[in-house]
Amino acid sequence: MPTDTDIFESLRQELRRGTLILAVLAQLREERYGYSLRQALSSVGVEIDEGALYPMLRRLEAQGLLASEWREEDKRKKRFYQLSEEGRAVLARLADEWRAINAALEPLL
């Protein structure tokens, strides 16, 4: 029998799943590599597990929303990600959607 905490945690994860993609896309308006992206998200209060972040970056790249390139920084090769043109357009639409959902839900909450 799931406890109230289990139910809350499962619903919270479900609620966060879509918003994390929005946060990642928004942070990649400027070029970042995986670790610096995670730190940037963490600094604004969005915690994301690396195990979920790195595969997500690859999926978004495979969908054409991100572009990436390997470059050397601090004497180490790193993979830098940035929004593609298509990614910018999708982010703009998703942001509108987010604002609309937020505006509709806020009076209800």
């Binding site: 995986g34 670790y35 195990g51 790195y54 595969p55 690859r58 999926r59 180490r76 790193k78 993979r79």
Partner: protein, 323 residues
């Protein structure tokens, strides 16, 4: 320390697709080294072996990490799952009935005992697991688009079963149809000799063994009986698969019932249908047994005729009412 990182990355790499392996491992290595640098900066010293183990464990088990880079699709997704579950229930119900009916017949005719029940259960378990496996493979193939299911998306509300009305008589549920289907398939299997009979034609009596000799009329009626059974199978199948096709089903039921009446008529005039042969029994005893058997079969024929005529009336009325 780098030995632990290499070992960890080696374990992840072994589970990744070849084409992406190098790329993903290089990125993971960078992530790990960044984490190590941060942890060392916090402590002001290099990490020891235990701390390194903890850090890698935090990143995740190699199977979990590599798995996240694979296809995110579940074996059977949320959309297909209810259909999978329904299919599994139907398959298990068919398998259970197919296993239970012959066993039940064998037990009722005193040709089986508790060992038969145990054997039936033992045989059912691997069959059930195989059916669940087969259903899962089909569902996984549908999930991945290897099996096209466009026809399913064009389903019609009018083809769904009618809402049940408890005041209406002789209304069969889908489960009734399924039960009927299994029974008729077993009957066809027995009639055609594909399935062995759970009972033989020997009766053990106090006076020794008695043999049942079946009338040759059944050989003459081999094809008509088989045809009627097939008609019933198609009707039951329609009830299970296309419950909304009421016109076709009513027609089949009427054809089957009219055939049933005709069959009763032919069998009635061909009596005795079964003759008892008991070399060791007394003449009076044998006559008594034969009379009891004849009476039982006459009652059976009356019942079959009554059911068939009722079916003609009920399904004819439904056909006229478009129900």
């Amino acid at each position: 320390m780098s030995d632990l990182v290499d070992r960890y990355l080696g374990a992840v790499a072994a589970l990744l697709p070849k084409a992406q392996r190098q790329d993903i491992v290089a990125e993971l290595r960078d992530l790990i080294l960044n984490r190590v640098e941060d942890a060392e900066a916090q402590r002001g010293r290099p990490l020891d072996k235990r701390e390194m183990e903890d850090l890698l464990r935090e990143i995740g088990h190699p199977i979990a990490v590599a798995g996240r880079y694979g296809s995110a699709r579940a074996l059977v997704g949320a959309e297909i799952y209810p259909f999978w579950l329904f299919g599994v229930k139907v398959l298990l119900a068919i398998a259970a009935l197919a296993a239970a009916i012959p066993t039940g017949v064998a037990l009722l005719t005193a040709h089986g005992d508790a060992r038969l029940v145990v054997r039936t259960i033992q045989d059912f378990i691997p069959t059930a697991l195989s059916l669940i496996g087969a259903a899962t493979l089909v569902a996984a193939a549908i999930e991945r688009g290897w099996i096209k299911t466009e026809g399913f998306r064009r389903w019609k509300v009018s083809e769904l079963p009618r809402a049940s009305d408890s005041r209406e008589w002789f209304v069969k549920s889908r489960f009734d149809g399924l039960f009927e289907l299994v029974v008729m398939l077993l009957f066809i299997g027995w009639w055609t000799g594909v399935v062995a009979s759970p009972a033989d034609n020997v009766i053990k009596t106090r006076g020794g063994e008695a043999f049942l000799q079946v009338s040759s009329v059944f050989q003459t009626l081999y094809w008509p009986i088989l045809t009627l059974a097939v008609v019933q199978v198609v009707s039951s199948l329609l009830l299970v698969v296309k419950p909304g096709w009421t016109v076709a089903r009513n027609l089949l039921e009427i054809v089957g019932a009219v055939g049933g009446v005709a069959l009763v008529w032919v069998l009635w005039s061909a009596q005795p249908l079964v003759t008892v042969l008991a070399p060791a029994a007394s003449e009076a005893g044998l006559e008594n047994l034969q009379r009891t058997l004849d009476l039982s079969l006459e009652i059976t024929l009356w019942v079959v005729a009554a059911i068939s005529l009722t079916k003609v009336a009920v399904h004819g009325w439904r056909l006229l009412r478009g129900r």
